[in-house]
Symmetry: C2
């Protein structure tokens, strides 16, 4: 059921209009723009045939946009999740066209939010509108919950879903916010890593000391940070936190077999994507396993002392390391926080005090591919793309998936239409337009199959 030209043009024109709104959720000066982007999509949901729409607020942040059409009693209810806020556009001078003036070059549309996630959210809205236009009704019940804080912590939606609102009751969550493994290869993401993000705080001398006068007798918190980090992870990338791997589930044979079908060239990945002298990580595990199915411990920054130009000989009073652990099923973030805190204390060197301070955590998620909602999605995409749907995982974290699972008890289907080179969060973000149209067709066909 291919889209007609008129619908295609209108869908793209409206998307461009939406992309022009600078809905940067993390920058206070864009608060009213974020609000405008919310109202824009609320009206689009009404136009698409939703019988009830509203803006939902929790806290001081940006609103969520809700919409529903419940005219198919006895049929499943699909909850669409997406987000209408975007990342800041800096560095501006690296954009070839202005980030908020969408520019079509070849088969791609360039601009902030084109693929993350306005373009993919628009797929959901337009799929519903198209069915409604053709049939005057939908094959299943449909709800939308679109967030405006995904790029800024997502506090409102976490609070809201935590209330288990009956309004959100559904059989499945459909999320279009991931990517295809490769062009022309429809993809379902079946697993996401969870995360524990925090800081290791080390306190040593009561004030900054001169390293000439005190070096040799006073403890150095920066050195203590280095000692703690190397105690927590060995040179092979194996994490030395007691109990940390206990709950890690090995991928199934079916999953290993699915990954074997994915086109992947490790030498090319090293050269074009990573660009370091060599890859690293736990020996005996493939790149897919290391990035999708094994947990990690990474340090993101170390604060303390002097990092300016020139030479300052300071032993700092304090140092802080920002670290994160990516978790895989069935690791539990709360349990990991306790394990890390204990390991930091155990590794604390003489003369200093060290503790782990949690910033946020989210559980991993793993989708059962034999689930009928996943199967229907795979078949719909297969039909539209004319190619076999593949299953991959992602090493990243989409905390809302775990939130829906935990509080609403419903699975998520991650059918994403981005591509690996879409420059998410970077200059020259783009979206491949053929995938935009095939995405609308795939979601529409998916709803028909569920109905």
């Amino acid at each position: 059921m291919p889209l007609n030209e008129g619908f295609r043009k209108r869908a793209l024109d409206e998307l461009i209009e939406w992309l022009r709104i600078t809905s940067v959720s993390s920058l206070p000066e864009h608060k009213s723009d974020v609000e405008r982007a919310a109202e824009f999509v609320r009206q689009a949901l009404t136009k698409a045939g939703m019988t009830r729409t509203e803006l939902i607020r929790r806290g001081e942040g940006h609103p969520m946009v809700y919409g529903e059409w419940l005219g198919a009693p006895g049929k499943p209810t699909v909850l669409f999740y997406g987000h209408y806020d975007v990342q800041p556009p800096d560095p501006l001078d690296e954009w070839k066209s202005p980030p908020f003036e969408p520019d079509i070059r070849g088969n791609d549309i360039f601009g902030r939010g084109t693929s993350d996630d306005k373009g993919q959210t628009w797929i959901q809205v337009k799929a519903v509108e198209w069915l409604m236009e053709r049939d005057g009704r939908l094959p299943v019940n449909v709800k939308f919950i679109l967030e405006g804080e995904e790029e800024a912590g997502g506090e409102a939606i976490t609070a809201y879903v935590g209330e288990k609102p009956p309004q959100l009751a559904a059989d499945v969550v459909v999320i279009c916010d991931t990517e295809m493994f490769a062009p022309e290869m429809p993809t379902i993401c079946t697993g996401l890593r969870g995360i524990v993000y925090g800081e290791i705080h080390v306190e040593g001398p009561k004030q900054d000391l001169h390293s000439g006068v005190y070096g040799g007798a006073a403890p150095n918190p920066l050195m203590a940070v280095a000692e703690i980090l190397t105690a927590l992870k060995d040179k092979d990338g194996h994490i030395q936190i007691p109990g940390f791997y206990d709950r890690v589930v090995k991928p199934t044979d079916a999953e290993y077999a699915a990954w074997k079908t994915l086109p992947f060239n490790e030498a090319e990945y090293l050269e074009k994507e990573v660009g370091s002298a060599a890859l690293t990580g736990e020996p005996g595990f493939s790149v897919f396993e290391r990035t999708w199915a094994r947990p990690t411990f990474e340090v993101h920054g170390i604060k303390g002392g002097f990092t300016g130009e020139g030479a300052k000989t300071v032993i700092p009073a304090k140092a802080v390391a920002k670290v994160s652990l990516r978790l895989v099923a069935d690791q539990d973030p709360d349990e990991v926080v306790k394990q890390v805190a204990a390991a930091v204390e155990a590794a604390c060197p003489k003369g200093v005090r060290a503790r782990f301070v949690l910033l946020h955590g989210a559980g991993p998620s793993l989708v059962n591919t034999s689930n009928r909602f996943v199967q229907a999605s795979a078949q719909a995409m297969e039909e539209v793309f004319g190619a076999t749907t593949v299953y991959m995982r992602s090493g990243g974290s989409i905390p809302i998936v775990g939130t829906f699972a935990e509080h609403m008890g419903i699975p998520s289907v991650l059918m994403g239409f981005g591509l690996p080179d879409d420059n998410l969060h970077s200059p020259n973000e783009k979206f491949h337009l053929p995938n935009f149209y095939r995405g609308i067709e795939s979601v529409a066909l998916y709803l028909k199959r569920l109905g």
Copy 2:
């Protein structure tokens, strides 16, 4: 030969006038102030009886001030070294009185440069002036070389002394820029540690990577820095750089005996000076040995990734650690640079490139206390203070001492009149006025004894 009241008052009034000039050498906006401070002391040298004075320039920086009186043929020549530039005063709001409006409270004068080093340089100038006023001549030949870049790298004087200028020829350098071990305890500093200051540069991925997508396969330069640091120094503070300790000279029995006479309470030192949970450093060595007679390796700052508020999950492309090694006799900075560079490369983990980049180096120095210039200094201070002169070392570095030794082949006598709580480089820098006057008397008596 105590100073009379009139001389005391005039010496202090003039010092206050000099202290009001904001000669902060590292801040370009104070360039003309530094110049004014140089001219101020040049005129003071003329007034003190120097028969020739001049400003000497090397490079773009601040001038050196030279003065000489050579009217004692056959007698030794004493070269006084001091510096008229000062550290920046920040943080300003922690000063109880403005840094450049000297304030006398009790027996102390507060202000930037009071003890480091305008106050102590003024001791040298006024000692000469006083003798000249009393006797119409000096007992020895005297030269002054006063630097304006000591707090900003000291490039001009290093270049100048490297030329071995005949004008600087002397039998001994006298430096008043150190401190007494305790109040009422005249002190000669007999050893200084050298320094090698540099950066460990680590390069990993070609650009910053997302730790969700690449964590587990991509090398992390910050973690590599931690691994290199812990490879170069073990948990006991023992440095693991091959050959590093080979040239380290053990203090003599006489020196150990001298240190035993110094009043020192380790528990008090821990609580009042360091303020950490415990002291650290190589087992089997005392605090004096660890801070004066043993070399160190310290990290001062680690740059790379994200250290702002909140959570950013970046694997940085690069990381830099600022590090220094303090050296003791007979370690050689050039040799140590090679040893460190080799050790950094040897410790470089898989997947990244690491190298050591030198910022600057200076050799250690050790004074033979049986030297007659040292003996005369000890006796002069003993007479003025009415207490036995003690010998200590300093863990810090005064690179000019090594420069004079290397290029001019002359020893330095470090007779300092500061106190351990003078707040050098910090807010509320002070100088103990009784030490200012006794300093003038000690230096004058010292010249008489040499004559």
